[in-house]
Symmetry: C2
Subunit: 419 residues, 2 copies
């Protein structure tokens, strides 16, 4: 049992973009500490710094993958960004008369596997930092980084500071984990697309996971998974507001903690989608398996799959979607194997987007899909592909209808803010 309540605060790159911003963050951290709770602040690199370091690594050249060494040095280099921010925030807090110190990944320690560049957390020793914050010292943790069992620096991959924060909140049994960012919470849809978007006061972990997977960039998926697994109360809020002002943000919590559930909580849009259709694939057992094994081996992450009978008797048309970045790779892999697979024609389309509606209330309500399809039909929007899960329905549509679809669905599910 911790001696006193603990909170974890996380500040992303735009929140620590320069010394002025780091000073503003120091005020937020000090304000929390003044409430008498134990404070851990997890920081990202200053905006642009990680890109600069990654560019240096690329220019130095990729190491021979056979050596498996690229990741070690990449992590040693790139982790220095968070190291600098953590030291600066600690310095500024000390300067304002606070007890504070920086903790690098290897000092905490936060131990990871050795998948360098995208390492997974194995364990955190809560002892040293727990003792420090119980003793009234503010702990500034360099996000995104850890140490592998061999004593080399590791990193968790892009967005890893969210995961660092959630993991420390779990390890330290923190009352909550506040993710400070440049928006003031999670919205029912992207406010830049739809001015009727509303900030949500609460959202379930499962919904947030779907939102993160479906294009909302506010939180890293792994951090939400971790928080869900350990029942860490996450909160997304802005670091740009006035200190002490009302700043509730959006709480991400278990479905049970949400009293009034909407059937649909949010509408998301993912623009970086592409679609491939294979026409007249011979319809024998294992044909689809061949295709998707081929793509999987080529590192292509396939999403919505639709199979339908082709006009000619013993053949099928197969279409599927993937991230736009994977399109060329997928086309090349398929064309190389065209004779073996035996499809007649390949049609690619990257002028498509994925629109999704998400809500835990869907589980217990019928007619959600019907409302979606009717709304799109009413707006003359044609649906290419459909994918569903227990709490979301996604459709692939032409890019030009993206904003129209988002706005129409937002209205149809009663999400519009009062004008």
């Amino acid at each position: 049992m911790a001696e006193r309540e603990r909170v974890v605060l996380k500040f992303g790159g735009t929140s620590v973009a320069d010394l002025d911003r780091i000073r503003a963050v120091a005020k937020i951290v000090a304000h929390e500490a003044d409430k008498g709770v134990g404070v851990v602040a997890v920081v990202s690199a200053m905006a642009g710094e990680t890109n600069r370091l990654v560019a240096l690594c690329s220019q130095a050249g990729d190491a021979d993958p056979a050596l498996d060494a690229h990741g070690y040095e990449y992590d040693t280099i790139v982790s220095s960004g968070e190291q600098v921010t953590a030291g600066l925030l600690a310095l500024i807090l000390q300067n304002s008369g606070r007890k504070a110190r920086s903790w690098l990944g290897w000092q905490a320690p936060l131990v990871t596997d050795d998948a360098h560049g995208r390492a997974k957390i194995k364990r955190i020793d809560p002892g040293p930092i727990g003792a420090a914050i119980d003793g009234g010292e503010i702990a500034i943790v360099a996000g995104f980084q850890g140490i592998d069992e061999a004593g080399r620096i590791s990193t968790l991959g892009r967005g890893g500071s969210d995961t660092t924060a959630a993991a420390f909140a779990a390890a330290l049994d923190a009352a909550r984990c506040d993710i400070y960012t440049d928006v003031d919470g999670v919205y029912t849809t992207d406010p830049r697309i739809n001015r009727a978007a509303k900030k949500m006061s609460r959202i379930a972990y499962e919904e947030m996971l779907e939102m993160a997977a479906l294009g909302a960039k506010v939180l890293q998926t792994r951090s939400v998974e971790l928080a869900m697994a350990h029942s860490v109360k996450l909160r997304v809020l802005s670091s740009f507001g006035e200190i002490g002002a009302e700043n509730p943000g959006t709480v991400i919590c278990s479905e049970d903690s949400i009293v009034e559930k909407n059937v649909v909580s949010a509408v998301t849009l993912s623009r970086s989608e592409a679609k491939i259709s294979l026409l007249s694939v011979p319809d024998h057992p294992g044909a689809a398996a061949d295709i998707f094994t081929l793509l999987g081996d080529g590192g292509v992450n396939v999403d919505m799959i639709v199979q339908s009978p082709a006009r000619s008797g013993d053949a099928a048309n197969i279409s599927f979607t993937m991230g736009e970045d994977d399109l060329t790779r997928a086309e090349n892999a398929l064309l190389e194997s065209q004779s073996r697979i035996g499809f007649e024609k390949i049609i690619s389309n990257s002028d498509v987007v994925k629109v999704s509606v998400i809500g835990v209330g869907m589980k217990s309500h019928t007619g959600v899909a019907a409302t979606m399809f009717r709304t799109l039909a009413d707006n003359a929007i044609n649906i290419h592909n459909i994918a569903t899960s227990e709490i979301k329905i996604s459709v692939l549509i032409d890019s030009r209808y993206a904003e129209l679809a988002v706005r129409a669905l937002h209205t149809a599910y009663g999400l519009d803010a009062a004008a």
Copy 2:
């Protein structure tokens, strides 16, 4: 006993200024490794990087000295510069098919005391890096940094990478320690002042120590002390030449290894000098002690001291020199205590320089001082103060005579290169 011969190479900031320079350094390192020796390369931060990081620390503000915390975070921040260079050099070597890895101070480990920002090395564990290089892997060591007993990152102060290199050479029982820099060796005097300056093939540790203390910037004093204490053969040479070309540089070794000793080996010039004269100090016991205690407490490093009787009976004039940076501090300290010390007048002069002649041969030769004073007199150069040690004679003269004095002395002691 090491399995095979080991060498330590050190590359300063200008030698690793950008990726092109680091690639050139990788070629030098690979060339050494190809000789079948175990190679440790110690690197500084890329030129300008340490200044950038130090500026960030200053802008973040000095922490309350009472917390003694400034050094901890300063070291965490500033050490990231060498961390990045070490990773990049290791990456580039891996890319060219070599086995290489970076070693940070805490990984080696290089353990220091906790005088952060100017830490002293307590010990180096030669085991891990020794095993790595015996196994044919090139060890890239981040210079300038270590770890204190509490597990915090420490730094050795400016120029600390020279010291890191000498310390690793001692710990690993290396055959030699090559200090690569932007000049091709140690000269009998600054070639920018005197075109007749000659590169020395050998110089004794003691001479190099005096040269470093007296204004030559080629090597950090502590690295020479360390090398001397552990009989490490140091060599200063250029990283900007052609790989494999004749590049002997200057060897710094014990006096015994130098067969043909010059009476005077080098002439140095230090411009950042200042002089204070106190007139009519009451000549009672302890007066001088009072003055220099006062200055020592104020952090002023006093050098050449001359005391002479004042015109009036029971008083003395006391003059002394110090670094130009300390002049204002010294003046203020003395003026505050003028009534207590009782001197009549204070005269300051920062328009002075220190010219020194250095040579281990002085120990066994007479007439060295006489030659110096006669040469200066022949050129109508007035001497303010004189200081001597077993192997050097320094004089303080007016700044305007600096170059004239250096050139005249260089000729007088037979050091001029054949035209």
